[in-house]
Symmetry: C2
Subunit: 396 residues, 2 copies
């Protein structure tokens, strides 16, 4: 197929450091190329890819000190997409909702993966206006926050099989990897490690908005606990050792995590995950196999004591069975193909009845069948939860 992947411009594809969305776009793009598809990647100019690259800025925006406003560059990208749109069988967007007005007349040739949280009040009025946009969720929990939209599938993220090697004999520390921010609860991780009597290593970036939280809340805890070591932001190369050498990854989140790629990264190393029951966690982890799902810090401490009951080989097997890039690419290709077939059907019907085939108000049929290959995570089940009145107002 002729496929366009449209990535955010904040990070390189793949990112040098932090950046979940751009990392997943990279894995998917390279796998599609490997399978022989004709792929074009719209991304920052310093991206590395085997696909054709159409750059919308010289270097990725987050680490470019002269950039003050990211939107103009994304407008440039949308214009490039508009110019080249006719060349593709499918255009796969990863930039939230920015493209919606522009692609009205070709919505049935597009797929949009939402990588962020959807429990924010501003998206419901938006999708009331754009009901036909074919959307893909990265977990059923994420999908549940937006009901009356054209969901065409749930596709959990996947990693290249050999990206992070299996590590059978870890060292005796707990790991925390990601961002220092209130919803990631590094304070709870410190508390759990202290009570469990285990060393904790924290590898995390600190965004500008989280500087005060770091200084006021977390840095004092790090200084106070001799068992806690803060490493800072680590590169992709350092991740394998950091995660692989850990006895477990702590993931004590306090927000509706839409996916949580780091859980899968730990699993690839054979490292089990102790995670709080929020967002996607019950879909990603198999309790008692790839880790423990807990509801309180005390349960997390108890879970640390039971780590020896888990088999690291079994953790890695879960990764290989459910979270490889091959599985992710297979899921997406299924969606691309179902959309193309649906379009051909509509065109034949339209040709017979002489009605304009595509455009506003078009309905793509729900693609429940598409997600069958997702394995254990129940992605094909129509378990969409209602957009409840009790949505939390945490930061995104």
């Amino acid at each position: 197929m002729r496929i366009a992947q449209i990535a955010p411009l904040f990070e390189r594809v793949p990112p040098k450091l932090y950046g979940g969305t751009e990392r997943v776009v990279s894995y998917l793009t390279e796998e599609l190329v490997r399978q022989g598809h004709e792929v074009t990647l719209f991304a920052s100019g310093n991206s590395k890819t085997a696909a054709r690259l159409i750059p919308s800025c010289d270097v990725a925006l987050r680490l470019n000190p002269i950039v003050r406003d990211a939107l103009p560059y994304h407008m440039i990208m949308l214009d490039q997409v508009r110019q080249h749109a006719g060349e593709f069988d499918v255009l796969h967007f990863h930039i939230d909702y920015l493209h919606a007005p522009l692609i009205r007349d070709m919505a049935d040739r597009t797929v949009t993966t939402h990588h962020g949280r959807l429990d924010l009040p501003d998206l419901a009025p938006f999708y009331a206006i754009f009901p036909e946009l074919p959307l893909v969720a990265i977990s059923n929990d994420q999908r549940g926050y937006l009901r009356h939209t054209n969901w065409v599938g749930t596709v959990p993220h996947g990693l290249p099989r050999d990206l992070l090697p299996f590590q059978s004999s870890p060292q005796g520390y707990l790991a925390f990897l990601g961002r220092i921010s209130p919803e990631k609860r590094p304070d709870l991780a410190i508390d759990i490690a202290a009570k469990a009597g285990m060393p904790l290593k924290i590898a995390a970036k600190i965004d500008r908005v989280d500087q005060a939280y770091w200084h006021d809340r977390i840095e004092p805890l790090v200084k106070q606990h001799p068992n806690v070591e803060f490493i800072g932001e680590i590169s992709e190369d350092e991740k394998a050792a950091f995660l692989g050498d850990a006895a477990a990854l702590l993931f004590p989140i306090d927000w509706p995590e839409p996916f949580g790629l780091v859980m899968v990264e730990a699993m690839a190393c054979g490292t089990p995950v102790i995670a709080f029951r929020r967002g996607s966690v019950p879909e990603v982890l198999t309790h008692g196999v790839s880790g423990f799902i807990v509801d309180t810090a005390d349960e997390a401490v108890a879970a640390v004591a039971r780590l020896a009951t888990l088999d690291r080989v079994g953790v890695r097997a879960e990764f290989e069975h459910r979270f490889t890039v091959e599985r992710m690419a297979r899921d997406y290709l299924g969606i691309y193909e179902t959309l193309a077939a649906s379009r051909r059907t509509q065109q034949r019907v339209a040709a017979k009845s002489n009605v304009r085939p595509i455009g506003r108000g078009m309905q793509v049929p729900p693609l429940a069948a598409v997600s069958k290959s997702n394995g254990h995570n129940g992605a094909a089940k129509p378990t969409v939860r209602a957009l409840s009145a009790g949505i939390e107002a945490g930061s995104g």
Copy 2:
């Protein structure tokens, strides 16, 4: 003409409190309706207008506590504009650059007024991609920061003639009106008033980003100086008395102010302005007639002593001559009509040569002639300054 005005959704049109862009859009819209044009206003649902209103959200976004992200609502608006685009002779955008990719194929039926600062590095690469977009500046100084773009005119803002009544006998205080923020230099206003031995009244909003600046820098100065009174954010109704009763408005700005509507509001009341020589100031004020243009705080103190040499009737006359909404509407109608004539010419040429008339790469001729009615402010002069390497990195 059939005219669309596309306003930002942050404030009502017109705003209840602060909000320069939405206020100017309102003045222009109502004047065009008054002159018999068929005007459609795209704006927030609680806007007040004699034009046809197409709302993109129920209430304006800034004062709506549930809103977290303004972009989805602007995407809804762009889609509404797209649907209705065929109904208009001209579409006049006031939303920066958000619409650029969407209107490629009808750029020659659009005008975009830039209301903000243009000295930011992210706009130059943007306009390299969208060189054909017809742009209007609100001062020649603002225009000078972007060179290689399709400037079709400079149109200074205007106010309804009877909005703010002339006040011949003011009280003896100096006024500061606007935002508490470092680039507006309320600290300098306090310093100038203290040295001049005059009372100072400050009417200003404090944005969340400026809370620390207020608490750390300005609030202590207000408490320290008994001659300074802080009033807070005032409504449109209170403005006439606040400005009209002042002996002068202080405008000690420290940024490239693109226009400075408050200067014109003061002039409408007959109140002279003491302003620093930055941004648009020399285009708006006539030194020795409508106020004094200064370079230092000491010069400002000396200017206060010379206020008696200015005639308030003369200040009001400057307003009536140069900054009424009739003059602003006349300028814009001239631009709309020149664009329409240019389009008709291109269509005739294209019909003869059988070439596609509009779209990418189209060049609208520079409309230097259009701005002739601007009066004293020299808007028609091609005084475009180079985008210098020494651009300041102040806040926007």
